[in-house]
């Protein structure tokens, strides 16, 4: 019996496709998310919008809170550790977390190095802004990628940019001769072995999800139509005026993302989405997507 192989890690990511992963901060929210049809929940002390408002150092959440959420739901539970903070990741793995998000939403612990994720039994998801960043994380052992977007803003513009960047990078690789791949790997700053696989397959070797700024069913559909295979919703649900209805609407929007009749139906009758703030106006040190490389 072989546990924790890369195949098994990517396998769970495959099972989450076509689903919505929702940020929750307590047991009640976790149950609302599960009842609304979340494929997984992300347990954290504060959702990104509140991390922004609260300031200070954002760290891994209290393990006790994560364990309570794990007990309350039957779906997979994810949690975040700081970029490069492998001790936080070790703690999350020890408590039996299903997926670890090495996340730019928390304050980075290492500005040069990400976690060597191959050494862990638990699978990792990491954020990316372009193909090079995605392939570096996959090289380190990430079993799922997601766009960084700009978490906690309710502004979809960065997630769109990142998804388009990754897809453009993949299309470029597909057009290249074998002779050009090494130079492209150098340009991307990405491991050649992974570059080769992507050039051959025309897609990332792991599932690619959307995250960062998704606030409405239309946002979710947009990201799916741009090629995302599932959607993370952070602040968008529990910062809105109708979390339960909005969560359910986004779940339906992800399954039926190409059906405007469904999108119209689920968008009607929702109360106000999170107010949000434009990602463009954020001062440099508040742009979370710039954390990590």
């Amino acid at each position: 019996m072989e546990k924790s192989s890369y195949e098994v890690k990517v396998g769970l990511a495959e099972m989450l496709k076509g689903g919505v992963i929702m940020d929750v901060t307590n047991v009640d929210q976790a149950k609302i998310a599960e009842d609304a049809g979340a494929a997984a929940v992300m347990a954290l002390e504060r959702i990104p919008a509140d991390i922004r408002a609260y300031g200070g150092i954002a760290r891994m959440s209290n393990p006790e809170m994560i364990l309570k959420i794990k007990e309350a739901v039957s779906i997979p539970v994810m949690a975040k550790c700081r970029i490069g903070h492998f001790a936080e990741a070790q703690i999350l793995e020890e408590l039996g977390i299903d997926f670890i998000d090495e996340s730019e939403v928390l304050t980075p612990a290492d500005e040069e190095n990400h976690i060597w994720k191959h050494d862990f039994k638990a699978p990792f998801v990491c954020g990316c802004r372009d193909l090079g960043e995605a392939l570096r994380r996959i090289g380190e052992g990430a079993a799922m990628m997601r766009t960084k977007g700009e978490a906690g803003t309710g502004d979809i513009v960065e997630a769109v940019r990142h998804m388009r960047e990754v897809n453009r990078g993949i299309r470029r690789l597909q057009m290249m001769d074998k002779e050009e791949l090494m130079a492209e790997a150098k340009r991307l700053g990405a491991p050649f072995s992974v570059v080769e696989i992507v050039a051959q397959k025309g897609r990332l070797p792991v599932p690619n999800f959307a995250a960062g700024g998704i606030a409405t069913p239309a946002d979710a559909s947009l990201m799916m139509q741009l090629g995302a295979e599932a959607v993370f919703v952070g602040s968008g649900i529990f910062k809105s005026e109708d979390p339960s209805a909005r969560a359910e609407a986004i779940v339906k929007a992800v399954t039926y993302y190409t059906d405007p009749a469904v999108l119209l139906e689920v968008s009607k009758g929702l109360k106000d989405a999170m107010l949000g703030r434009p990602a463009k106006g954020l001062p440099d040190d508040e742009q979370l997507a710039k954390r990590g490389w």
Partner: protein, 192 residues
């Protein structure tokens, strides 16, 4: 060409579609009741059984799926096995109850307990590399069903005439033998 549907509410449906293509059958993405017409069989993929339960009844009625599975071939993997089987006490999950086997959800624990293992098929002498992801267990196999794959003596795949249920994920490997078995023994046995 046989047309096999893949229920695409949530989960690993694209992987099943790829395997079906490799077997020269026509995969059909199923999200609406109308998609079930003209199908020769259906696969209910792995994913979260709570999510699939929650969304059935929206554009695809529970009753339509039930009626289909009574007559036509259905192959459930992981969450799909749970949906086909019986005896799940979790109120968050609704089962079709057509496959005579008692299934326990997520029986091995969290993701770090997920594993791969070579299992024994009843219909082929070579072992099958099986991927188990937060897998369910087949606790009891009823009189109506027969065991068609085992791992350490325990049933991991059962068949009941036109129905097939596996606790593992044959769609995650390049080995097409289990899907091929479904097509040859379940799909072609059920009425068109």
């Amino acid at each position: 060409m046989l047309q096999i549907g893949v229920l695409a509410i949530q989960g690993a449906f694209h992987k099943h579609a790829e395997t079906l293509k490799a077997l020269q059958t026509q995969p059909v993405i199923v999200k609406y009741a109308a998609d079930l017409a003209h199908l020769d069989g259906l696969i209910i993929p792995g994913g979260e059984s709570t999510v699939i339960t929650r969304q059935l009844g929206y554009r695809l009625a529970w009753e339509d799926l039930h009626a289909f599975a009574q007559k036509k071939a259905v192959f459930g993997t992981c969450a799909g096995l749970i949906m086909l089987g019986k005896g799940c006490t979790d109120p968050r999950v609704r089962q079709l109850g057509l496959l005579d086997a008692v299934i326990e959800r997520n029986a091995y624990g969290s993701q770090i307990e997920s594993f791969t293992e070579d299992i024994t098929l009843s219909f082929d002498e070579h072992p099958f590399h099986a991927v188990f992801i937060r897998a369910p267990k087949i606790l009891k196999v009823g009189k109506e069903a027969e065991i068609v794959a085992t791992f350490r003596g325990e049933a991991v795949m059962v068949r009941q005439k036109h129905l097939l249920g596996a606790a593992f994920h044959p769609e995650l490997t390049n080995d097409v033998r289990v899907h091929d078995y479904f097509i040859r023994h379940c799909v072609t046995q059920s009425g068109k």
